[in-house]
Symmetry: D2
Subunit: 286 residues, 4 copies
């Protein structure tokens, strides 16, 4: 029995007695071997969240049958749900600009298999990393963005994402504000890394804002992109200590370490179906 081939069921529904019993009863009845299980009851929203990892080989049928058999329970409990298959690698389209740190970090994790994903392409508004990306055997698309061509540029980005059959779009310090349409078309599928500990220092040059304010820690925030700038549901955050001797350029440099670490963690949570969005907040089953 392969221990690495797993199905992941994640769901949320109105909270009531019997949800866990129904789901675990269903799985037990089918000999489903649960390797990881997480639950969260949001008492104020009266909503229940659940994630189950099941050994694929413990079931006598495949994922389509699993979905079919589970559907009546989902309907009964009014669930938002999905079942994903670890054997199908998620397709991650990366958008970059001219900063290297998140791109190198993601490609290192992909190269070693630590991130078990496909990267169908990298999209950038600059040529900077074409050679680096192509050396890795990954297609690179230049989509210049100017104040004038934004609608066309983002239409092109969206077209490339669709052609690539992307599951998730990662803004790896892309430094451009996506169009509201693009954001609205892919809720919960566009992940950004913002270079501040939100909600502090929204917008441009957050490290300079942080320096001006004299804060003693700086941070980074990985969040889903919505049409509301830097306001989407937060997936992960972290901070690093700074002091008076650090110039804004030092903060930028230190910040890179936090940005890439926070983005990598947030992306992993998303890829492993550990993030359930409710309103403007997330449940993250780590």
């Amino acid at each position: 029995m392969s221990s690495s081939h797993r199905y992941t069921l994640s769901l949320s529904c109105p909270d009531r007695v019997g949800v866990v019993a129904a789901v675990s009863g269903f799985l037990a009845q089918n000999q489903g071997w649960i390797t990881e299980a997480n639950h969260h009851a949001d008492a104020s929203a009266m909503r229940f969240f659940m994630r189950q990892e099941i050994l694929a080989d413990s079931l006598s049928f495949g994922i389509e049958a699993l979905r079919d058999k589970f559907a009546p329970i989902a309907t009964e409990f009014d669930m938002d749900w999905q079942i994903s298959d670890s054997a199908r690698k998620k397709r991650v389209v990366i958008l970059v600009s001219k900063q290297e740190h998140c791109l190198y970090d993601l490609l290192a994790r992909w190269q070693s298999g630590d991130l078990d994903i496909e990267i169908p392409c990298v999209i950038s508004n600059h040529e900077t990393f074409r050679g680096f990306v192509e050396w890795h055997g990954i297609p690179f698309h230049l989509v210049p963005v100017t104040p004038e061509n934004k609608p066309q540029a983002y239409a092109k980005v969206e077209e490339l994402f669709r052609e690539a059959q992307g599951d998730v779009m990662v803004l790896a310090r892309y430094m451009q504000i996506l169009s509201p349409e693009l954001c609205a078309n892919h809720p919960g599928r566009i992940i950004n890394i913002h270079h501040s500990f939100l909600p502090s220092f929204v917008g441009a040059k957050p490290y300079h804002q942080a320096h001006e304010k004299g804060v003693k820690l700086i941070g980074a925030t990985c969040h889903y992109v919505t049409s509301d700038l830097d306001q989407g549901p937060i997936i992960e955050q972290d901070v690093i200590r700074v002091d008076h001797s650090d110039a804004p350029e030092d903060l930028v440099r230190y910040g890179k370490d936090i940005e890439k670490a926070v983005l990598a963690r947030g992306l992993r949570y998303h890829l492993e179906d550990r993030v359930l969005v409710h309103g403007n907040k997330t449940v993250v089953f780590r």
Copy 2:
């Protein structure tokens, strides 16, 4: 329906299909409202760990009936299990010596109700904190420990613990090594805070050892006491940054902040039945 009156079921058993289904089916059948649930499957030990918080008022019967009704399931799955009642405050006996920080910290949490416990007494080998403890209305027992009287002293400590009907004994920087008998008689019920990041710097003067070694972080470890010095199952740990400018006395001072924080967290996990011991390791459902 009171949201604060809860029963907590914690258990471990050999891992197999159907454990969760059996437990959650049982609870659902009895209208048990689960407010928090945690699971862990240890793949190498093939052992399953679970903790469920249930609203007491959601059941139509009391804790004794709950235990009776659950017992057959526990037997079927060969469970180590217990059900505790949030309405019954745990009784915490604190042992101190001459250091103030953990004692003040625990009494502050108790005074405000953040730690919802009874403190039937404080035991010490010095008179230092008699006044402080008694001012809080808590009985204080002096049990001097000398190289000669150790067996009698620890017999006295054990007698006081039993008389106090203590659930757990907390060594809040007690600075004495308990007798093997005392340790053996109360497995998983004596909690110590060791002033190093174990397994580094076992034994005496760990901060001086850390200074000598030139480490850049120092730590503290909250663990269950066994007869093997500083080797019991680890519940919680944390660290704090130091540097070359810190003398051993500075490390001692910084260390206090970590010690009291780590002890308070570890103790809380224990009191809330979040810690399940397996071999020399713990599962901590935070």
Copy 3:
């Protein structure tokens, strides 16, 4: 030669060649033994900051003579400066309301001598901690604050502070907004602990704001009080990780641990003359 009796010289001045040479030359000429020295040149403000600890017994004269002899150098370089004497304990007046954690923490540090200060009195708008404070032999003053009596109440607080010959006023979760006059009269001498990672969540109920926003870390900020609410120069900050399972009440409870730790560190920096204010920012020589 006592290693614990020290003079601390702290200063800032316009940056130019020769400041360090002048100060260290002066000290060397008088056989001053420097045990700790810190410098910071703020390149954008063109301002220089310095702190020197000198063994008192290494000089052949006392602190008054030291000040007299140093004054010409201070004048030459246009310095803001002060020299303090470790033998004179600073007088810390603590203001509290009904929350226990910072008060217990500060008194524990004072009781053990870790904080080498005098506490001439504690002032509160509630009777809650009278017994606890007085048990420690510290005078306790009740100064009720109502919407109507604010001017008189803060005049009373100021009078008590002056009578106590306080060096610094610590708002240990005082939960009241001081009058602009009181703030303005004691710049750099009133220290507050704010229960958020400023500049996020200014004002009331920051933990509830944090919960609403879904942040993954919460924090606390120790800062000098100015008449601009929660906007004074930041001395120290720290954060702690939270997640979706934490209710606002949990954040409040976790936050206490960060608040007391951050306040204790910030206060220590202030007491040891490690904090130099420039504009709305601080230089903190840790």
Copy 4:
């Protein structure tokens, strides 16, 4: 006046009155503009440590003249000292095996200029990263290491290091134990990243040791290599939280993030002459 061209003077000497005065007097006399200064007096070792950054253009002479003029002071105070020039990039030779994370991380920092160094070559015992390294325009040398050829292999490594005129050798998860001769020949010039929080878990498979022990944090240690395995002076350390749900493979994966961050910080401190070794400990002027 270029603000980026700097000389860095770092030194240690027996502690006595007048060291700072002599050094700063010398610099002031020559119009040397100090941009950063650090001091440390080790009271138990009676040794003084100092680091000064000076704007090169503030002096009317060059680095050789600076060294000549400073030499008499160094002699007078019996200093270990050096003066380095920011205009001369340090030459860093990287040794890798088959793990990608530290290599990608270092090359990303080098590519962007965040690490202002030359990388004359990368040496490996495997071909794994030849293509990646050469794509960056950096020479790659394969030096296979077998139980039989160790003396020759390390002689070859040393020869390549000398030919490359390397200033520092970085073991970026090289996974091989260098020969005692190689270590002895380059004290304070070989930097390793060990994948545990030393002194815990010396030797092989530290993450598996950590898992076995059930620690709640894992760490990494950047240290100078000596002939005593994993015992050289510690430059930098950090930790990351883990829990019972993490298998050894998870610890390995989390550990990579800490390893690369700690190595990058430790290397930077070394490159900027912020690390002064004394006995088996370091002073790190951050």
